[in-house]
Symmetry: C2
Subunit: 728 residues, 2 copies
Amino acid sequence: MPHRTGQRPAYPEGSTIDWLREEAAERERQRRLHAQRGLRGLWGVILDSAIMWFVAVATGVGIGLAGAWLDILVKWLGDLREGRCAHGFFYNQVTCCSGVDPGELCTEWQTWSETLHVRSIFGQSLLQSFVYMTLAIAFAGSAALLVKTYAPYAFHTGIPEIKAILSGYVLDSFLSPWTLLIKALGLALSVASGLSLGKEGPLVHVSCCMAYLFSKPFHQFRANEAQKRKLLTAAAVAGVSVAFGSPLGGVLFGLEELDLFSDESDVMWRGFVTSVIAAVSLQYVDPFGTSKLVLFEVTGVADTWRAFELVPWLFLAVIGGLLGSLLIKLNAAAAVYRHNSVIRDWPILEVVGFTALTAAVSYLVVFLRVQSSELVANLFQECDPTKGDYHGLCNPTAIWANVFLLILTAVTKVALTAWTFGMMVPAGIFLPTIAIGACLGRAVGLLTQGLHRTYPKSWIFSSCPPDPTVRCVSPGFYAVIGASAMLGGVTRMTISLVVILFELTGALSHVLPIMISVMVAKWVGDAFGKDGIYSIWIAMRQYPWLPPVDFRDRGETVARVMKPAGDLVVVRDEGQCTLRELDTLLKAHAFRGFPVVCGEHLVGYATREKLEAAIEPLLEEDAASGAQRSCTFGAQPNAADAGIVNLALVLEEAILQLRKDVPLELVVSMFQKLNLRHILFTHEGKLTGLITKTDIVWLLTAHFPSLVERNILQAAMYILLLSSPGLT
Amino acid sequence: MPHRTGQRPAYPEGSTIDWLREEAAERERQRRLHAQRGLRGLWGVILDSAIMWFVAVATGVGIGLAGAWLDILVKWLGDLREGRCAHGFFYNQVTCCSGVDPGELCTEWQTWSETLHVRSIFGQSLLQSFVYMTLAIAFAGSAALLVKTYAPYAFHTGIPEIKAILSGYVLDSFLSPWTLLIKALGLALSVASGLSLGKEGPLVHVSCCMAYLFSKPFHQFRANEAQKRKLLTAAAVAGVSVAFGSPLGGVLFGLEELDLFSDESDVMWRGFVTSVIAAVSLQYVDPFGTSKLVLFEVTGVADTWRAFELVPWLFLAVIGGLLGSLLIKLNAAAAVYRHNSVIRDWPILEVVGFTALTAAVSYLVVFLRVQSSELVANLFQECDPTKGDYHGLCNPTAIWANVFLLILTAVTKVALTAWTFGMMVPAGIFLPTIAIGACLGRAVGLLTQGLHRTYPKSWIFSSCPPDPTVRCVSPGFYAVIGASAMLGGVTRMTISLVVILFELTGALSHVLPIMISVMVAKWVGDAFGKDGIYSIWIAMRQYPWLPPVDFRDRGETVARVMKPAGDLVVVRDEGQCTLRELDTLLKAHAFRGFPVVCGEHLVGYATREKLEAAIEPLLEEDAASGAQRSCTFGAQPNAADAGIVNLALVLEEAILQLRKDVPLELVVSMFQKLNLRHILFTHEGKLTGLITKTDIVWLLTAHFPSLVERNILQAAMYILLLSSPGLT
């Protein structure tokens, strides 16, 4: 007879964990830990807690350092496309020129044409653009090669997979050390290649890989999938914290987007500590030499904003919602096209070709040529005559030219990003989205500022200070608004976005406009489909993840969706069931679990893993007679005497039973809130039906195109199909 | 036959709402709203959303303005104890002297002895202290009189009740307009009286009252208890935001302490918007004329902290945990003593007497005499010779005297607060706790600073800058650490406390020490009992609120705690049950609901309200024969033909059924997570037992002293007893 909490079979890759079981196992472990008396007991409890904090803190420090190292590597690789340091090959442009006094010309940093002593203008341009493109292709190509060869899961942003894993999906190879290494290295290469992608999302993935690596030596995480996931949540939060330099934003991202804190404030606290430690580690290394945490500091913004500015801001919010939806749809269409065409078989060639195209297009427009992060940093800042003109952005005579260039940049970036996000390289979508929004926002800001300068006496601008030299319109803040709106449209996040952008600007008086723009962009975007980019990718890759949407059943009950009792494969506990019959049943059907009935009455629910674990030793023990032994699941008092095997302990401890005439909405929301795997339906004790998580996922995501790849995810899909008794 | 979502009976005061039912009703309402076609349908949806946002925004603006008004009123009343403005009676000291140039003496503000032309030093002291004490007594006495006469629920902080209400308890009179008015007015009076209390907690109560008032005209809130509670959550968040000038802290307080965001990110978003609007409204009024949101700005703190400082900070954290636990225990003992002694019958006299005592003691020590908020503001600031010496705190020759005075102040305040928090006046415990912690922290900071000044060359201080004029130890920041530790010890909050204090200091580099001190204080405090001050008060007043503690069952199953089937009063659905019998059953037993069984088999669960609502019209309709009609709860196909009343729709839609051998822990955690009212236990369809929320609350809070008052809460307790079938 298997022990109540005996060996718990490991979950196969692609299955969904049973939260109730994992929580029960953890409770049992805690109970045993606390039951030990004396010094040894105390030591056990302290050690247990210390291990947990050690892993969390190590992850925080690790991701903080990794983020800083990545920044330095990207800067160096990126600068290498332009030239090299005469001082030493491994200095980037900033450190190379750091010894130079302000005003003095930095001669140590040499462009490639200077290094190779090319004099003619034509020759210089040709050489520079050739090196720029060659290195871009080399970087992106090697990133794709690394990903394809060593760690296929290191491609893309990783956030959809993290969301699926945190909700209970088992995908350990997604978090392997190889994936960690390749993702970090490939990310540096792909960002430096100048493709339209960011490092933010992949950093979250890297952080989770790190936590997984650090947790592996410790039994408390290795043996419990729920504990592992709680740790991964903290790691994901720390990843966001480092990516945006926003520890609070990270916590709220965890709350809103990863949706796993709901049950325990301990998890939230751990995430917060990890997040702050990661931010402090990043600040300690100080990769940009500014000793500031914020990536895109907003400077010189006017203290107050005027009511008339709400008009351009609302315009930006609407544009952000529309363009965000468009970007999502284009990206999904590109992914489906790639999946169904010949491109799929040549991923590295695709990356190389598209990098060449991106580099060629980008080299022509100055705002596209610079690194996206540099572009955003400049767009967010107000013009300050003492600090240079930011690629001509601050030239007051070239407003129309700048507006045209900014809009051109935005439109080009939408097209480039839609294709790039999904190629075989690590790629985040946050930064390109911010860049697109910032370009549009700055353009609108420049126009508004131009209008104010041309008609300073108009009634519209009556709330501006009368002194025309005082700044009334801050185009840099318009860029922030544009970025907020665009992010709102693409990710459909709300509060965590606002907090991230709030930690960037720091001014409480400017939170309201950011909030309004995010909210309006989300509303506008929701009119064209409620799902953010991550939900779409989860659905396209068919992970068993329930979107937190408000499902409306229009009066339907669960009866239509559930698998009725007559169609279910059940274990009959009517006294004459032998072990051999059970074994045959298990071999004949691939379902994950079976309801146990006596007559029509429901006795319980037994999972495949537990049934197999209970039967196999008995069958092996006595191959001949063992198979003939009868078994029962009821608590028959004289079962042991009669030689009947009592399998009552195989049944699940807690099964949820509902009536089949409950509204479908209620069932969907129970699955969403309770992390369930199945619900049984009974009427007066008689089994009437069964519904599984997979049924609900299919119900909610049926309208998405599917994108399950043959080679990588075939196995996962196969298992998914099996786990759904309703769909064979 | 009652309609599926027909008239839903209102919940009586003191009951617990059924979240599933309320959510279902809201879903049904939304469905009907969205089912309407055309412009009218669109208008309905927009109006519905607009009403929700209108109420949320109105609450935000309302509490922001109320908070500002309260600050102004308190400042004026408080200053009135010292003197008056010759300019006009209604100016406080700051506004009275606002026209005076810096350096010039303010002659417009006159102390009472100046006004009455008392010349002798003795006469002046006597007059000043007499006015001080008389006004203190008058303020506190009138606050108590107002509370006692008009709104008994306006006493105390209100946070325990808010927590109970948000978790589903029905206590509408706690949110009445009268309570709103009396609480706001009484709060101003009691704060101005100089009693050891703060305005933070009560502001949360005021905010909730306001939201309740604003929501009353609208059917969507009035008719749905769940929607009302979601709105109240946003209001509570806004209250914290205004109380501490910390919009993000408010959101995280809502998450951690009120624990209601878990299900819907919409609720969180609404809370965030309300919170920011409240903060902006407060900032707009700018009650202190500083145009800063922060209450206790920390200035002049050194940029970095040194490792040796961790020693005094850890010491402060341990002290905070110990003293916090002591304060909780003293406060609970005081409450029990008050409840069991004759004092209970003379609440106003108690307030007057204790105010006199407080005023007499406070007048002797300068740190006690000033308003707590002013004291904290000064303790948090570094000494700056240009800004005055803060009641002698910055006198470098009086370190020992100051340390003695600070410790004396802290100890006195612990004693005063332990009694004050629970008297018949509106009173928050946040500010006194902060003040106690800040005093201790500043004392430790002064000692450390003194040590550094005496032995600047010691190896301990080797990390300090060699220049002795540069500040190495910042006693103001030690006060912040002390306040964090004390708050951690008293409230046992973690992340929201850190964020609130983080928004006060603003320095990311100093979050780590704050975090460590809160964590250590909580750990130390938890060793003396896991519950924070609010949990204790909830338990003492016996609200049906489940503390989010980790319950450990030591291997016990639910079988011991549940009410076994044999002891339950059930409705038998065996064909011959008549309406009269049902009516008799309902009248004979006061339980909230009844399991319906057929033989031993569970058919469903029917609540008293729904049963009564279904039966009464039938009985009235036809008094003679109606009562003789049989009824059934099963879906018998030919029931209608035979004239049998089909009550199947009276049964609860979703009932949770478990097996009775599940661990008790699991059942407790299901109640905690799912907001359930009861769980039924079945075995093969047969009813084996029942457990209600009240049973679980009693299980978890049995170790607390009870404090249910005869007059006010007797009714609530009576209903509570009734609602527990297991305890009659």
